[in-house]
């Protein structure tokens, strides 16, 4: 058994890790941290279990927030919408969940399922479908495994609820997004209902503890502990590709989605230039027009002095940062990954590049 518990103290490390795995997007997890801390203080610690600890037929339901981070800053969760979305899907399926699981360990959605699990008195499964942030529901390892996102439910804080049956995961994304625009852009979603057996076979394992551990490693770096930076790079198998200063930030809205381009100049004074293409998350990093990090690998920007992970919304002219390439979860390396979450999936005519080992 690999049962461990998450208490209010773990939330800080998870929050740092979640910002890093947000890879520039995913929404600032600060609000989610407050929600999770309050839920754990009210309802007590949450058990973290592996899918293999559960009965293979046991029902596991996911929960996440869906909407716009800018709106969530104002329309802070009620808490009840998450429980409602899980209960609605559970009622539709006609069985009770044995555990809650995050769908996206990266950004806001890392911590909210912990609050929901605390409130419902259920354990949380130490796994997810992304282990980073992605903008769309179908961008999971579950899609690669042929697991449908539907039936799924969307709920708001007032009691409005919808349950959808969808023919494919792209349609699940379209329908959910349409509902959310009508429901105030800060809603709860429960999708990819699975059994513990399906999760054991197809999910990214241990992602919550990975996130916490990565957060702790980065906190050691932030405290300037001896050797912490090298340990962080070694244990995440990451590489620092650039130390630069943001000299240009071009934000624009195309196809409805926010895209931007970041230009960084080398801090050491050479003529090397890094360009990062961003759509919600950091997707492609070039050095002198040569791609060096591509999605689904993670492009993480850290403040040069404090080593705080930086979200795209917080970046401004003159920011000095480290740019780190971090390999995506190994579970992503299977057929179909490039079409689903590679550069081409975001409209870039580019082959993915491999990170140095």
């Amino acid at each position: 058994m690999t049962i461990t518990t998450l208490a209010a103290d773990d939330i800080e490390s998870l929050c740092v890790g979640a910002t890093l795995l947000g890879t520039g997007g995913g929404g600032d997890p600060y609000i989610a941290k407050l929600v999770a801390r309050q839920a754990l203080e009210q309802h007590g610690p949450v058990e973290v279990v592996s899918a293999s600890d559960l009965d293979r037929d046991a029902r596991v339901l996911t929960v996440a927030i869906i909407g716009a981070p800018t709106v969530i800053l104002e329309k802070v969760p009620a808490g009840t919408e998450f429980v409602k979305s899980v209960e609605a899907l559970s009622a539709y399926l006609g069985d009770e969940p044995a555990a809650i699981m995050p769908i996206e360990v990266g950004g806001l959605n890392t911590l909210l399922p912990i609050a929901t699990a605390a409130e419902m008195g259920l354990p949380v499964v130490n796994a997810d479908g992304m282990r980073r942030a992605f903008p769309q529901i179908e961008m999971t390892v579950f899609t690669l495994a042929g697991i449908p996102a539907g039936p799924m439910s969307v709920a708001d804080e007032k009691g409005n609820l919808c349950v959808f049956e969808t023919v494919n995961n792209q349609m699940a994304e379209t329908l959910a997004r349409t509902a959310v625009i009508q429901l105030g852009l800060a809603n709860a979603i429960s999708c990819y209902p699975m059994t513990a057996g399906q999760i054991a076979d197809h999910a990214i394992a241990d992602s919550l503890t990975y996130c916490r551990d990565v957060g702790q490693l980065l906190q050691s770096v932030q405290r300037i502990e001896e050797g912490a930076w090298d340990r962080f790079l070694a244990e995440t198998r990451s590489h620092r590709f650039f130390e630069g200063k943001v000299v240009d930030l071009d934000r624009r809205t195309t196809d409805g989605f926010a895209r931007s381009t970041l230009i960084l100049h080398d801090l050491a004074g050479s003529d090397r230039v890094m360009r990062i293409e961003v759509q919600n998350e950091n997707l492609i990093a070039y050095v002198d027009d040569e791609p060096v990090i591509t999605t689904p690998d993670l492009i993480c920007l850290l403040d040069h002095e404090t080593y705080e992970p930086l979200t795209t919304e917080a970046i401004a002219y003159g920011n000095r940062c480290h740019v780190v390439g971090m390999p995506c979860a190994p579970e992503w390396h299977q057929d179909g990954v490039v079409d689903l979450v590679g550069p081409v999936a975001f409209g870039y005519d580019l082959d993915p590049v491999e990170l140095p080992r």
Partner: protein, 520 residues
């Protein structure tokens, strides 16, 4: 009418000194004075006015501007803060985060009175989340008043765009308890981000007594000197609020100290774009001015341990000052980060003290004049001086480089008592300027300040178009600047930030615009 009285008085009430400066035609410094800050700020302001007005023609003085760190110090020292009620209009949303969720325990104990989250607030579209729960508001108002709290902080979801529920809540509170409670409304003090704005509003309400004391002191000092002038205070970005507005919104003045100092230094030097390094006895602060305003930080700002969403000046500090201690150990040098601070005038080697400081190094290599006796540092070896000077120059160049946003060379202004540490040549810097009167740059920065207005709203580019949305935001910001006292014809847009909303199609974009203009 004020055109006939173009002269201004700038006053800065700092933790240690109260400075005043009389500004004459075309920004000239007619007189300046520095006195000790007093427990009751009124006495220091009076003394400073005594000094600066002596023998001057008062008939041409039309305005007086005050910058103060008094409210900031009250929060840092947890002193003079009122206990206040907290009302949030957002239910059923936001119930997962209590009003006190982000507060450190010690400040929570001092500041937070009864709290309630009641139904109300708006969606991003402007629609109501729920009809306003006026009974709930009355119940909390009565409870807060009964608890003896003098003020209440009211925050509604999306109030920066839709302030109606907050305004209505203020009416309901007044009808219930009369003048017993002062009311702070969040849309008047903060930007988007409910929790951070609520925190700022609570701090604002807790500071109302402190701000009243400062503003009363300012007004009675002006009256004492028979100055019939318009009174203003400076806010975080270096622009002005009327004294009446400042009394109600003290939290907007928290960062005015460093802002006034750096803007004042640039104005004294006659430049709009420059890096400013303010070197004191213990530490150096660096900031960068673009078009006369300090670049602001995008990071969340903690005030006394509470997260807020003010735009604060982007200032970096480091342990580099005139009193920084230089030690010889293991054949090498260890410089700082500790310092003898203001005691440099008695403890430094060059004034007969025992401690080797960076001021001694400056004197020995000829950067410092008019302080100490060169004979007392004549024994310092060439190697030591070269190494120490190299270290200082690298720190200054590093600070300047961290502030720069491009490779272009910009001027560097060196101010403060330790400005002698800054060499005449700095890497990446076009020229080093040492403006005159920089000892009162703070008060001068307050005295030259202008009026401003701003807008922070979410627009739909798909529905309204980008150009039209931006035009509307700019027009609203100009109107807001005019409402704060700016001359309409002189108002210019100083800042436009567009932050597209991520994860939703539809062209939603948060737009932040600031407009600034001279007082009419």
């Amino acid at each position: 009418m004020t055109d006939e009285r173009p002269h201004r008085i700038g006053i800065d009430v700092g933790g240690t000194n109260t400075d005043a400066v009389l500004i004459g035609d075309e920004g000239s410094v007619v007189a300046s004075v520095k006195v000790a800050t007093t427990t009751d700020p009124l006495d220091g302001i009076r003394a400073a006015l005594d000094g600066v007005l002596e023998g001057q023609d008062r008939s041409r003085i039309g305005r007086a501007m005050l910058g103060t760190t008094h409210p900031a110090n009250a929060i840092i020292q947890r002193r003079g803060l009122d206990r206040v009620g907290v009302l949030r209009l957002a239910a059923p949303s936001s119930l997962a985060v209590d009003c006190s969720a982000a507060w450190p325990q010690d400040l929570r104990d001092v500041v937070l009175g009864p709290t309630a989250i009641v139904e109300g607030g708006n969606e991003y579209t402007g629609a109501e989340i729920a009809p306003l729960d006026e009974d709930g508001i009355r119940r909390l108002a009565a409870e807060v008043a009964a608890a003896g709290c003098p003020a209440i902080a009211v925050s509604a979801a999306f109030s920066p765009a839709s302030p109606e529920h907050e305004l209505r809540a203020a009416e309901v509170i007044a009808a219930e308890v009369g003048q017993a409670l002062a009311v702070s409304l969040s849309h008047q003090v903060g930007a988007l981000g409910l929790i951070e704005r609520e925190n700022a509003t609570i701090l604002n309400a807790a500071l109302l007594s402190t701000s009243s004391a400062v503003v009363d002191g300012f007004r009675s000092a002006l009256a004492h000197h028979e100055l019939d002038v318009q009174a203003y205070l400076t806010q975080n970005d270096g622009t002005l609020m009327t004294a009446e507005e400042a009394e109600r919104h003290p939290v907007l003045t928290l960062a005015s100290g460093p802002t006034n100092s750096m803007r004042g230094a640039c104005a004294l030097a006659g430049v709009d774009d420059a890096i400013v390094i303010d070197v004191g006895g213990t530490s150096a602060d660096a900031g960068i001015l673009v078009d006369g305003f300090l670049r602001e930080s995008t990071a969340a700002v903690e005030v006394g341990g509470v997260r807020t969403n003010f735009r604060m000046p982007d200032i970096i500090s480091m342990g580099l000052g005139g009193g920084t201690i230089v030690r010889t150990e293991d054949g090498g040098l260890r410089i700082g980060p500790d310092s003898v601070g203001y005691a440099v005038s008695t403890e430094a080697r060059c004034v007969g003290g025992d401690t080797l400081t960076l001021s001694d190094v400056s004197l020995a290599i000829g950067r410092l004049e008019g302080f100490g006796d060169p004979a007392l540092v004549a024994d310092l070896g060439a190697d030591l001086l070269t190494e120490a000077t190299g270290w200082v120059d690298a720190q200054v160049a590093g600070l300047a480089d961290r502030m720069k946003s491009s490779r272009d060379e910009v001027p560097l202004l060196a101010v403060g008592g330790g400005a002698h540490l800054v060499a005449e040549r700095v890497d990446g810097i076009s020229e080093v300027i040492r403006p005159g009167h920089h000892g009162v740059a703070n008060a001068y920065g307050a005295g030259i300040a202008e009026a401003s207005g701003s807008v922070d709203k979410v627009y739909s580019y798909d529905v309204d178009g980008r150009d039209e949305s931006l035009d509307r935001a700019k027009a609203d910001a100009v109107d807001a600047a005019v409402r704060s006292g700016a001359e309409r014809d002189g108002v210019r847009i100083t800042n436009v930030v567009e932050i597209p909303m991520t994860y939703v199609p539809g062209g939603g974009c948060r737009v932040v615009v600031k407009a600034v203009g001279p007082l009419r």
